[in-house]
Symmetry: C3
Subunit: 349 residues, 3 copies
């Protein structure tokens, strides 16, 4: 049998199984520069060592979503190489800040399995944990994907679907946030005087800016994360498929929308948790991505008065300015919507 | 009112006003690698720590134009988001070398205002200063842009146009140049034996090489500089506009032409000052950029005998080899010319 | 005469001549991140400082092929700017690991010259050595190129063709490999339990994955290596030529195929030597690159029991999956083949 790995099929997974993923990865200032070039983020804490130190960090931390993508990328060869669809995320918590020089690795535990009635595939639920070189968790999240069966006749285990929180709670947030030095957090440099207290539930923000997607850019990003999903890279194969084009990694759209959201959320520098994420439609090179946000909830962080959390809906829309906040008509998404992300951001008070 | 910023309009500026720009930015080896990948510069001092140390630097300094772009990028959201046109640069001096790990931030002082006779816009003159984490200036320059009025009826202040030097003088140069160790400056490694003394006023150099522009490349560059000008990124909007395409950041052409100019100016490793810069025509993806230089002046640096300055005209031309040095016919530029840059470079003696 | 260099012609080379190439280059974490983004390599030793240290390295070493490209790039302006064709490589040995912060420079000795019978060109053989900042060799290799004559009437020296090894021998390998700490080399993290002992001569591996080439990507790569060959960058000129398009640097295909080969060769983390390399056909943007490998030979490393070497044929094919291992029919290559590389890889035992 060839030594090249074809990925796992539905019947290869066992409830409770723990998978250690290749390849550990040291994150560096080089990754930070590329992330800046790919999306243009401008949050001051992640952009400036001097600003980060004045605000209570040891140095500028790695952008939370870059950490997410690197931890996620490692899981692809084991979990989703034979996936039909990436169905959802939940309970994603950022637990410890990551700095240049830290080495990240990932493990996943299978926490749910449910065969589809057609016997051709099934849903696999995993809880993935990213750890640094000391073994300390920096991130964990649940993800579920529909995975093909290798053999339709293979007998599936009894179905088990885990119970997941619709949203994380304030007590789940802030693990990756050091005590802030509010005197040192200069809002002239961060770009907006509006702190946590200045936002209101129900507030909507059109982020105004937009970016057009390029093949070279999403490929560079996805390889930077060592994510090997074939649909992002292989035009020869994709040209025969449903979309005739390379599909862009969903995380690329998340990072782009998050960078665009700087305009109006300048002090929401830390993603503390992701409650849910849905890639409503696929994105392709040539699409122009706009974004808007809505404040869904607002909570202090338990036991601390330096920062508070905003629960935000971040919508990315394709080829459509967000002046009218495109979202849903009833159950149906506006056809322009690419991404519907529900997350907790932390802001200084 | 939305917290997203729409940028300043002409009537928002006041003479003498000082604007602190977001976002401070730590420059790293990651930025240096990307800059190399984007333009291919080969000046030995900036490329090699070993060469830089042997020549009198503490380490390889950051390319002067990368410093310029980062300082410039920060000013865009405050100064030129509503600009109709970027009219000019003057008196740009490099004052202190920047090294990986330094954090740059920018402030601008409004030094001139002049409403246009049509009352729809006006010219704003700013002197922008880039500073490192110690507060020391590393760069300053004057820039003037034509900015829209939000409200035509808004009353404009009395016009004030600053007096600007046509060119900086030798006494203005060399602040960012440490004393050179000429024995350690190895011209076999730098690529050309020609030092300052070997160039003559009136000498023209066709740089021979050329590069074709790509959308992904200029977008990566412009985001790396955290420059948010919409015309560079938003095809959906630009497709409705005059050019039907994304406009390339003018600084991208400056950096590309400067990198091409290595062939024939191998020892002109330091940009000490920019006297004037004109983006003669817009550049687009698909254009192939050629470059040539002319020595306009040649001056020793006052009080030092390690280095001298050449005043150079650097011309970038589109889809046209520079064997015949395309420039002007009378007042009219050759239609191939993209850039006309007048700067002082420093070379070892 | 213009100071811009036009490169050497056949009659400019002398047997025994040693050429010191510009520009020395400090390799950094920024280069590593870009290399990851360009090709997506996942070998654990190069990806993770923690893994490298546990395995016997001082830190994660720079990918061998990145070292090769940087050393090679410097030779282009002196050796191959006027080349008609790049004919071959031989005797490429990696001699010392390179780490971020090391500065690389290159020299070449002319070891062979043979004028073509048409008197219009000749073959130049050079042995190029890359050295670090201490002067220690990190890499050497022989390359031969067909170079134009400036003047057909120029008298050529007596022909001299060096004798080159068809393949390096086990005694030539391992100079860049520190003693491995096998207990610390964790195959769960490296991605495959198969070590040196598990491979057999004649074994073929289809690497399954594939990547589509983009103009922006190969340009970024080739500039990162400070390689100035015009055919890779100048569409304006190439559009008049035989291929109507920019030619992709052959080394870009080597690095891409090597990164694809991770799937099935996860522990073959070190390229110890390149025996021969042939760019069978040119590659262009839009091509999708697949790859497969065959084990040609298997040898222990003399005097050490921590690692062994596999001699591998690495084939890159265009727009054709490698399930049927496309190679040759008789002497004729399958038209899909882009690259035929013969190299020694080292794996832990």
């Amino acid at each position: 049998m060839s030594k090249a790995r074809q990925g796992n099929y539905f019947e290869d997974f066992r409830l409770g199984q723990v998978i250690a993923h290749a390849t550990p990865r040291t994150v560096t200032a080089g990754d930070v520069a590329l992330y800046t070039a790919l999306y243009g983020p401008r949050f001051a804490v992640q952009s400036s060592d001097a600003f980060a130190k004045a605000s209570g960090y040891a140095a500028a931390p790695i952008d939370d979503l870059l950490v997410f993508h690197i931890v996620f990328g490692k899981t692809v060869p084991d979990i989703s190489l034979n996936a039909v669809a990436n169905l959802g995320y939940a309970e994603c918590r950022f637990l410890k800040p990551v700095f240049p020089g830290d080495t990240l690795s990932s493990t996943s535990e299978v926490i749910g399995l449910k065969e589809n009635s057609n016997k051709q595939s099934g849903v696999v639920y995993v809880r993935t944990t990213g750890r640094d070189q000391t073994g300390a968790p920096v991130l964990d999240y649940v993800r579920w994907v529909m995975v093909k069966k290798r053999d339709e006749a293979a007998v599936a285990p009894a179905p088990h679907v885990p119970t997941l929180k619709a949203a994380l709670e304030p007590a789940d947030l802030g693990g990756a946030l050091p005590p802030l030095t509010l005197d040192g957090y200069d809002t002239a440099l961060s770009g907006n005087p509006a702190r946590w207290d200045d936002y209101e539930i129900g507030e909507k923000i059109d982020h105004l800016d937009a970016m057009t997607l390029e093949e070279a850019e999403h490929q560079l990003a996805t390889r930077l994360y060592q994510n090997t999903a074939k649909v992002h890279f292989n035009l020869h194969e994709q040209a025969q498929g449903r979309f005739k084009r390379r599909l862009i990694y969903g995380g690329h759209i998340i990072s782009l929308a998050r960078a665009l959201s700087f305009n109006g959320l300048e002090n929401a520098f830390h993603v503390a948790a992701i409650n849910a994420g849905r890639h409503v439609s696929p994105a392709f090179a040539g699409d122009t991505v706009y974004a808007w946000s809505e404040v869904l909830d607002k909570q202090p962080l338990p036991g601390r008065d330096d920062a508070g959390a905003l629960r935000l809906r971040l919508i990315a829309a394709k080829d459509k300015p967000c002046t009218s906040f495109p979202y849903k008509a009833g159950e149906q998404y506006d056809p322009a919507v690419l991404l519907d992300l529900d997350y907790w951001a932390v802001l200084p008070r």
